[in-house]
């Protein structure tokens, strides 16, 4: 085990990990270029950057998932080659991924045993799991099956799995994206304790306030290069943002809402889950009026996907009156029929659902916007289609070679902008957007939020589902929380707080009616 009692800044010490001139190129992009980085023992070191800045590639190089084209890695002063994650683990590097890699049907203990080397996965493992998990304030029952765990608990499994291997460097990739605010506080306590004991932590995030409160040092990446280093405790969020995106953070203009008629109404929606690990929806009531944005907060996996499918018509309902669009019962209508009524929908998954990866942007415009004069006598009017795609590209400043660009050739953020733009430009009466800025860089996210607000001001009823509480508080007029398939009442924004929403996200619900 790591000797306890090391202080957090041993500036004279040899860096635990030092990278020198790391470069990695992919066929279409240089992901990392000449990156230097040093992490001291007991240091919580933030790697800060927008999506696509090269953070993930760098972490994969350190963890041995990919190999750098050039550059050297020093581990405690010695040059090493890390050819695989097994090599990395042997050195003492542990990684907690953004997306969990757990087997749903196995227990916590079995999942952990799978990752350990044979001599460590013996009969005493459950006792060791309990010991380590309580010592770091991460209570876990080794005998519980993983499917019964919340996202926060799953993350604990991943962290404990790393801790059992006595890591001397722990890599955390966007660890808070699935946690409630309260769970984030707990996680930070654990990380601080680990650092005090001498474990170094590489903390990847784009959430500026988290980095300011947690990290001792920050390295900022932009387009694959190091653009700055700082002590985040002495910086402001806007100064960090300037280092990260090279300009000031745009702020959305939020005018008062002029609320109209109830436009999207859900009454007593109960829907059993389709797959065994899905979430059943229970007695959901919701009302979105014209000219307002209602947000749904919640930790992912609490019924958001099921609710979106039921509202968009991807899954049709038994009772027609559970979903009403513009006063018409729509529960039994399919997605095409609901779109014909004026519904537009931005789904969570871009490639393969919101867009066909192999098709051009013009064809992807046709996918949902074909009612906008793109078809005559059953045949496609290519001029109209291409024009629509080109206009969307221009209006949203999308980086694409044109209407003929294949959807999968766009970066995630640009494709997201295209899908958002395609849906918005259909002049819907109701817009449903799931994670509208997920994976989008800060500048583009601000642009999408502003576009949502502008659409609201033109009298559209908008429902936004997001895991980013900051985003919901920035753009919404009302906020509801989904937890374990139940939806709370819609709180007016000025009558609630991050703390209250956080409480609701953890499942303490007050059920109330919609309109």
């Amino acid at each position: 085990m790591i000797p306890a009692g090391m202080t957090d800044t041993a500036s004279s010490a040899t860096p635990r990990l030092r990278l020198s001139g790391i470069t990695k190129a992919y066929p279409s992009v240089v992901a990392n270029q000449g990156i230097d980085l040093a992490v001291l023992p007991g240091e919580i070191h933030a790697v800060l950057g927008e999506n696509g800045a090269g953070k993930s590639t760098l972490m994969k190089i350190i963890y041995g998932v990919v190999q750098a084209d050039e550059g050297t890695i020093f581990w405690e002063g010695r040059e090493v080659a890390i050819a695989s994650p097994a090599d990395a683990r042997r050195l003492g590097i542990g990684m907690v991924f953004q997306h969990f890699s757990l087997f749903e049907t196995l227990t916590v203990g079995e999942n952990i045993a799978l990752a350990l080397e044979a001599d460590r996965a013996g009969a005493e493992l459950p006792a060791r799991i309990r010991e380590v998990s309580t010592r770091y304030g991460l209570p876990l029952d080794p005998l519980r099956p993983v499917y019964s765990l919340s996202a926060g608990e799953r993350q604990r499994v991943e962290i404990v799995r790393c801790l059992l291997q006595d890591p001397r460097l722990l890599i955390m990739d966007e660890p808070t994206s699935v946690l409630t605010p309260q769970a984030v506080d707990k996680l930070f306590e654990t990380l601080r304790q680990l650092a005090t004991e001498g474990c170094s932590i590489l903390y990847i995030s784009h959430k500026l306030d988290e980095i300011r409160s947690l990290c001792h040092k920050a390295t900022v990446l932009r387009t694959g290069q190091v653009t700055g280093e700082c002590d985040p405790r002495g910086e402001t969020s806007s100064s960090l943002a300037r280092m990260m995106i090279g300009s000031d953070l745009p702020h959305a203009r939020h005018r008062d809402a002029h609320v109209g008629e109830p436009t999207l109404v859900v009454r007593n929606l109960t829907l059993p889950a389709e797959d065994p690990f899905g979430t059943s929806l229970k007695e959901i009531d919701l009302c979105v009026r014209a000219g307002e944005i209602v947000g749904i907060a919640g930790v992912s996996g609490n019924g958001q996907n099921e609710l979106m499918a039921a509202l968009s018509g991807e899954r049709t309902l038994q009772d027609s009156h559970t979903v009403t669009i513009l006063g018409t019962a729509a529960g039994r209508l399919d997605a095409a029929q609901r779109r014909a009524m004026g519904l537009a929908f931005v789904p969570e998954d871009r490639l393969g659902r919101g867009a066909v990866p192999e098709m051009s942007l013009a064809d992807n415009a046709l996918l949902t916007a074909h009612r906008k004069g793109m078809v005559r006598h059953g045949f496609i009017r290519e001029g109209v289609t291409r024009h629509y795609a080109a206009a969307t590209i221009a209006a949203f400043g999308i980086k694409a070679s044109g209407a003929d660009a294949v959807a999968q050739s766009l970066s995630g953020g640009n494709l997201q902008k295209f899908i958002v733009g395609r849906e918005m430009r259909q002049r819907p009466k109701v817009l449903i957007a799931a994670q509208p800025t997920w994976g989008v860089d800060v500048g583009a996210a601000a642009q999408i939020r502003q576009a949502l607000l502008d659409l609201r001001d033109s009298g559209v009823a908008i429902l936004v589902v997001s895991e980013e509480l900051d985003e919901l508080f920035e753009i919404c007029d009302g906020l509801a929380v989904i937890a374990r398939g139940r939806l709370s009442e819609v709180k007016r924004l000025r009558e609630t707080s991050v703390e209250e929403i956080g409480m609701l996200m953890s499942g303490a619900l007050v059920q109330a009616a919609g309109c």
């Binding site: 066929p27 279409s28 190999q67 581990w75 405690e76 010695r78 090493v80 080659a81 050819a83 090599d87 042997r90 050195l91 003492g92 968009s312 018509g313 991807e314 399919d334 997605a335 095409a336 029929q337 609901r338 779109r339 929908f345 789904p347 998954d349 393969g352 659902r353 919101g354 867009a355 066909v356 990866p357 192999e358 098709m359 064809d363 046709l366 996918l367 949902t368 074909h370 078809v375 059953g378 045949f379 496609i380 294949v406 050739s409």
Partner: protein
């Protein structure tokens, strides 16, 4: 170490080069194969690819055999693009032959100009009916259409066999299992004298053009392609999967049925225990060698037809066993399909990562 890396975008150059690469590889393998068998490889290639095309009659035969292949393949391709796996074109072809042939036998004495169109329509209807069964089973009970359409092939061929051995057997046919010869009004007119080539070819080409127009330019065709490429996107956009399955099966059935009546009203001129030498199955290969693209399918059907004729010619002229000609044909088709991998992947020489054997920090 050689490594296949996905290309960011499909390569157009590789799209044109891959058939050439396949041809070169086939020549190499064929050269070895024929040399081992003690035949002059150049004579074998000549027998396979040149001799069948040396006469006008030969070219007519080439086009005659290519006609049902392109017709069926273009219908199947519409379904395959939408992930509707109709494997039973042979059965739908047979049903088309039975329905259309039944009309010809019933109106044996008729000289009406409407007889032939009626037969063609009945053939289309027969193929569609046979394809409707797997479509219904799939949409109603989620039964796999690969299995149901394939099994219905045997039902269809046995039904035809039953008819020509029984009810429809030619009373003056010395007990041979075959129907009466069709009347002149029930036969497709010959296109080029001294050959067996009939108006089925321009008909098939027209169908290919229509299919191309449907898949490329119509909203329904577009939606079928979406359903094939990204099923979740199809559900998201509200494209009905039931309609996709029905359309995919019925288009394939209609084309196969038309090919079936084209065979019995063309080169056969009567109903025999079998309506085709396996065109319905060969068309599956034609569809994929043609990359599910109508113009590609036309070229692939010509190639397949040439391989049929070349195989016969090689057996006759060089006394090659039929297994060897089959092997050679398979080699070419295999290389054609395999070479298409370079459209989406590029070949790279990858550096072998250096593995450090002495790792510090081992505990």
């Amino acid at each position: 170490m050689l490594k296949l890396e996905p290309r960011p975008e499909p390569s157009r150059v590789a799209g044109w080069l891959s058939p050439l690469l396949a041809a070169a590889a086939t020549v190499v393998v064929g050269f070895i194969l024929f040399t081992i068998l003690g035949k002059d490889p150049w004579l074998a290639f000549h027998a396979f690819f040149i001799k069948p095309l040396a006469t006008q009659y030969g070219v007519g035969e080439l086009l005659l055999k290519a006609t049902p292949l392109m017709l069926i393949a273009v219908g199947l391709a519409a379904g395959y693009r939408a992930n509707v796996w109709n494997i039973g074109a042979e059965g739908q072809l047979t049903m088309g032959a039975i329905f259309g042939g039944g009309i010809a036998l019933y109106f044996q004495e008729s000289a009406s100009p409407l007889l032939l169109p009626a037969m063609l329509l009945a053939g289309v209807a027969g193929g569609m009916l046979w394809a409707a069964i797997p479509a219904f089973l799939r949409t109603r009970f989620n039964a796999n259409e690969i299995l149901t359409s394939l099994m219905l092939v045997y039902v269809a061929t046995l039904t035809l066999s039953l008819l020509v051995h029984g009810a429809w057997r030619d009373p003056e046919g010395f007990n041979f299992p075959q129907s009466r010869m069709f009347g002149d009004a029930a036969l497709l007119p010959i296109l080029v004298p001294e050959t067996r080539l009939n108006v089925g070819l321009p008909l098939a080409l027209a169908v290919v053009a229509m299919a191309w127009l449907f898949m490329r330019r119509s909203l329904a065709g577009f939606q079928m392609r979406v359903a094939g490429l990204a099923p979740a996107a199809a559900i998201y956009a509200g494209i009905s999967s039931r309609r996709t399955i029905w359309l995919g099966m019925l288009i394939g059935g209609a084309c196969a049925g038309l090919a079936g009546i084209g065979e019995v009203a063309g080169p056969l001129g009567q109903l025999l225990p079998s309506a085709s030498p396996g065109y319905g199955f060969a068309a599956i290969i034609v569809a994929f060698v043609g990359r599910l693209h109508p113009p590609g399918i036309v070229l692939a059907s010509l190639l397949m037809s040439l391989l049929y004729l070349g195989g016969e010619s090689a057996q006759v002229n060089l006394a090659l066993p039929s297994a060897v000609t089959g092997l050679f044909q398979g080699t070419l088709l295999f290389f054609l399909l395999a070479a298409d991998v370079f459209i989406h992947y590029s070949l790279r020489v990858a550096r072998v990562p250096v593995r450090s054997t002495r790792l510090p920090g081992l505990r």
